[in-house]
Amino acid sequence: MRAKLVFLGRLEDVAGRAGEDIAASAPLDWYDVIGWLGGHFPPELADAVVSEKVRVAINGALVADKYELVLADGDELAFLPPVSGG
């Protein structure tokens, strides 16, 4: 399967880019995704996205519990840090 990761706000700076394509032999759960980030990005990125304050959306729909997510072929997974306000 192939999916897309999107890094919003300051996560884009931490990742060094706005998005990344991800390929795997089977659907990925949250821990698979974190492990994959750890292997492809500076460790600060995985540290940042595991924060409670970072929400995630799949294909534009917010995920209520990110620990339950399953990333399947063609999905877009967005990492959303707190919005700035003000």
Binding site: V6, L8, G9, R10, E12, D13, A57, N59, G60, L62, E76, A78, L80, P81, P82, V83, S84, G85, G86
Partner: protein, 148 residues
């Protein structure tokens, strides 16, 4: 009149948008507007707002629907910029038209509080050539808590 909700990537003219909005609403007794702009003179050289296409505009449209459900309005306009803006440039324009003044004031106020604290925008500003991300402010959570 339906809701007019726009997410714009380029500069806009608030007076022209407001004039056009009002011209279509001769039945409304009052129109309240809020214009937010990049503050000049505080060392900010530029402001950047990033958004996430699949979330940002749909959430603005949802907010507009909530506002319309809560107050009796004749029209509602919500315009928000994304991208890079210079000092003095408009960021956001909200206008609410209603038969009764109090409804228009409350609707515009509520829309702004929720746009500011809940919208899917990430903001950074450039000072002395360096970009800095803006963190959420405590004041925004207090503003939004007023509405219960």
């Amino acid at each position: 009149m339906g809701n007019d909700v726009r997410l714009l990537a380029a500069a806009f003219d608030p007076a022209a948008l407001l004039g056009a909005f009002t011209a279509e609403l001769p039945h409304a007794g009052g129109v309240v507007s809020f214009l937010g702009q990049v503050r000049a003179g505080e060392g900010v050289e530029a402001l950047e707002l990033r958004h996430y296409e699949p979330l940002t505009l749909p959430a603005m449209c949802d907010l507009a629907k909530r506002v319309r459900g809560r107050w009796d309005l004749d029209g509602l306009l919500i315009v928000h910029r994304s991208g890079t803006m210079m000092p003095g440039e408009p960021i956001v324009l909200v206008a609410a038209a209603a038969r009764h003044r109090r409804d228009a004031f409350a609707a515009a106020d509520y829309a702004m509080d929720h746009l500011k604290s809940e919208s899917w925008f990430w903001k950074r500003e450039r000072r002395d050539g360096q970009w800095h991300w803006i963190e959420p402010r405590e004041q925004d959570f207090e503003d939004i808590a007023r509405w219960g």
